[in-house]
Amino acid sequence: MKIKNIAQLILSISSGLLSQGSWAQTDADLLNDATTPKDVLVYGMGYQGQRFSPLKQINKSNVKKLVPLWSYSMNDSRGSESFPLVKDGVIYVTSHNATVAVNALTGKQIWKVAHDYPPETLRVVCCGIVNRGAALYEGKIIRALMDNHIIALDMKTGQEVWRTASPDPVKPENGYAMTGAPLVVGGVVVVGVAGAEYGHRGFIEAYDANSGKHLWRHYNVPAAGEPGVETWADKSYETGGGSSWITGTYDKDLDLVYWGVGNPSPWNPRSRAGDNLYTNSIVALRPKTGEMVWHYQVSPGDPFDYDAVQTPVIANLKIAGKTQKVVMQANRGGFLYVLDAASGKLLAANPFEKVNWADSVDLSTGKLNYTDAYKEALQGKKVDIWPSSSGGTNWQHLSFSPITQKLYINTLHIGMSYEAPPETEPYKAGKPSGPGTVKRKPLFDDPNVRGYLKAVDPMTGKASWATPFQSPNWSSTMVTASNLVFTGVMTGEFQALDADTGKLLWSFQTPSGILAQPVTWEKDGKQYVTIMSGIGGVYALFAGDPNLKNVPSGASLWTFGLFDK
């Protein structure tokens, strides 16, 4: 071969590698996502799930100049909860039935792929027909479909690269549906599942990111003969719930994936006496094998649907003068848990919202000190309970600022009257096992204040400020290094608040309600903020909140930047 040809070959290979490199998201890229704010590659703006951005071009003094640059119609009327991924000037978002790639600077569609699912799928989607996002890995966008398929699409074209059906018994008729975003760790796609309102047996499972091959499944409810099954009465474990519908986090040093596990099924606790492991738990798994290294059960034998799916956020906290790596969860039951990331040891557990079912948590044993209201609820008596089944917060993600050391939490301030009558029929997989099994009515301290955005100290649960909202915010929060907190409002306002005081600094009315996840990114030296608008989801559809009566549906994607003309 002549030298010229060899040179051409080298050039060709190099250019191919470079080209692939610009599209590929290597493990290193994903690991560094939180510190490389030009792109948003991982659900939660980094494996830690902090939703913190080091960007500070948009700050308290200029945020008033934030203006919409473009909006993009999803051509859909369902709820928009998707997390936007940003890579090389392209934004990728999902809905329940489509994945799209949009030019990040212009809002022009690059490609759109529609996803069909059988109509019966929707029978077991309890809480809004939604999808919360995708994952990126080596030129592919990977997502779950409502009918329990995992697919990988080519990021450039949207062409399908692989498609795998979640293995048996994962079918809608058995109560399974997938609405959450996957998490890719070292070439392993970790996926959760919904369905604890339909008597399924929940799990967390994994696929090979390059081939789609199913790698492992970790059931969140033990089967006969397995450790923990003794915490279930009779055969109640067979329809025991324990879904995993919100994406977890990953720590490279410890090589652990942290994932929240949902409520036991049925909601009515009278047929499943016991702690019901591993429902309502935070679990730490090895991503390569699914091996459970530790678990912490937040509320054993839960009667109230206080599932623990909220993303366990990883951070380094200064505790007693020493920096410690922790995972933090603002749990639906109203307590804020701080656990040692390596061992799962409880470090703090304090209320961040109004709670009356337990007084406190014993730090040495992790046992809850239950109130009489809780004990009477288990006896079938009618009691008033705070928070309601919707929780002190729900799935909406909090954010954590390493600068202020505060968590920014959208809370719900709603209680309930509760009664669990004796059960009359045995439960069956695939049949409703949730809200219809107990009697409840909402309670309000003030019907015009049903939620707050709070800045909360992780170790005490105390809020340094709390900004009230007429309806609870179902949007996630995001905090920046310029001490701005971004969030969306159910009536459509996209807002920025002062992270130090909670003061509203900027608001823009989008066409529908917001229950999505803000992100920020940088291109050519300019900072942008992106979020979806589109009402739907469990609260808007099922709470009967009069404040939302005149909020139109319609999903759209919005990007904002500072007005610089």
Binding site: E120, S389, G434, R440
Partner: protein, 112 residues
């Protein structure tokens, strides 16, 4: 409705049209087939809406019962199923999101 379902239903109707009126067994079989073939299909809301309107009608006894049970704290969707003819349940099951949205519209949200 899926094409095969439409074809099957048409066949059943054609075969049975001559004798169905005089044969209770065939009538029962036809109804069972309609329910089976009709299950796991896209929502056909017209019949379901009519059933909801009936069960929630405040002028009817059933409507008063519905309201009382919901006000007592029972979930509206469950009460709807409890007070509706079981034959309709497969159709209602196919329409759960629509049922929930309509109950919400009527002021009876299926509170989660």
């Amino acid at each position: 409705m899926a094409p095969w379902t439409h074809f099957s239903l048409t066949m059943v109707l054609q075969i049975s049209s001559c004798s169905v009126a005089t044969n209770p067994f065939l009538l029962g079989l036809l109804w069972a087939l309609v329910l089976i073939l009709g299950s796991a299909q896209a929502c056909e809301f017209t019949k379901v809406k009519s059933a909801i309107d009936q069960v929630t009608n405040p002028k009817e006894d059933v409507g008063k019962r519905f309201k009382a049970l919901v006000e007592d704290g029972w979930n509206s969707e469950r009460v709807l199923f409890d007070l509706t003819d079981k034959d309709l349940h497969p159709l209602m099951d196919d329409c759960r999101p629509e049922v929930e949205a309509y109950l919400n519209q009527l002021g009876y949200p299926s509170v989660h």
